[in-house]
């Protein structure tokens, strides 16, 4: 059956657990290209370089019935006390899923949270925006 995916089909998971109140997410893959054009040539040529992943997500700042904040395990990678900063263990396992019935199209990666923004405005719902950058290879890529 044909299907056009919409925002209703999008799911974002942290460590295999679906995050509540995700309003948007995006994932980008970038290939660094190494130029191999030499003197005397008029057309540019390239060799593939390093491949990387990055993205962002926006979530409503939400407390569920068990008093658990949905963004806690994302924000605590950057917003924390102490003088140690971020260590190599401060990675998150993110899964981005596009659901079609029982068929899941997943992209899963290990990432560092590189920015986190939250605030409050009169008359508006509080939301949290995060950016991340992938480290290492994708764990899962079942998007076809």
């Amino acid at each position: 059956m044909t299907k056009v995916y919409t925002g209703r089909d999008g799911v974002m998971q942290l460590a295999g657990v679906t995050l509540a109140k995700v309003s948007s997410f995006s994932l980008q893959s970038d290939l660094e290209t190494l130029e191999t054009t030499t003197l005397g040539e008029n057309i540019r040529s390239y060799s593939p370089g390093i491949l990387g992943y990055s993205g962002s997500a926006s979530l409503l700042y939400y407390k569920d019935g068990n008093n658990a904040i949905n963004t806690a395990n994302l924000l605590n990678k950057l917003i924390k006390t102490g003088t140690d900063g971020v260590s190599s263990s401060d990675t998150v396992e993110l899964t981005f899923r596009w659901v079609d019935g029982t068929d899941n199209n997943d992209i899963k990666l290990t990432a560092y949270i590189t920015s986190a923004t939250m605030g409050a405005s009169t008359g508006e719902i509080v939301s949290v925006s995060i950016s991340f950058v992938g480290t290492g290879a994708l764990t899962t890529a079942t998007i076809s």
Partner: protein
């Protein structure tokens, strides 16, 4: 093993050198110059080969070893050859070669190799023309 002339550089810079001149300046500011030779020398040729394979990058190291570093001279970008070092140069073929001015090139310093990614490197070669 000759200089790897099959490869074309991605960038090239050339300094034409100078004739052996000694300059004397008096206290009044007057300048006297004495020409000690009839041939221009100290040419500088810098060649960069970006994003080449490691196997090709190794050719420069092998050649540097063959010339015993900066000791031996060799032929590159000379009048008679049509090698890759001159690729893209559409001026007179004698202009950036060393032999037209009676010079030969040798390594001015060791080739610099930068690993870009697995299997891909960038090499910079600095040559100097000497009599």
């Amino acid at each position: 093993m000759p200089y790897p002339t099959a490869l074309a550089p991605t960038s090239r810079s050339f300094s034409a050198g100078d004739y052996p001149v000694k300059t004397f300046k008096s206290q009044s500011g007057a300048e006297t110059r004495i020409l000690y030779g009839s041939r221009r020398t100290n040419l500088k040729l810098s060649l960069t080969y970006e994003n080449i394979t490691d196997a090709n990058a190794e050719l420069f190291i092998n050649h540097y070893d063959e010339t015993q570093g900066t000791f031996a001279s060799f032929d590159v970008a000379s009048v008679s050859t049509n090698d890759g070092a001159k690729t893209g140069w559409q001026g007179n073929s004698t202009a950036i070669g060393a032999t037209s001015s009676g010079n030969v090139y040798r390594y001015e310093s060791a080739p610099e190799l930068t690993q870009v990614r697995p299997g891909v490197s960038t090499v910079t070669v600095n040559l100097i023309g000497v009599l």
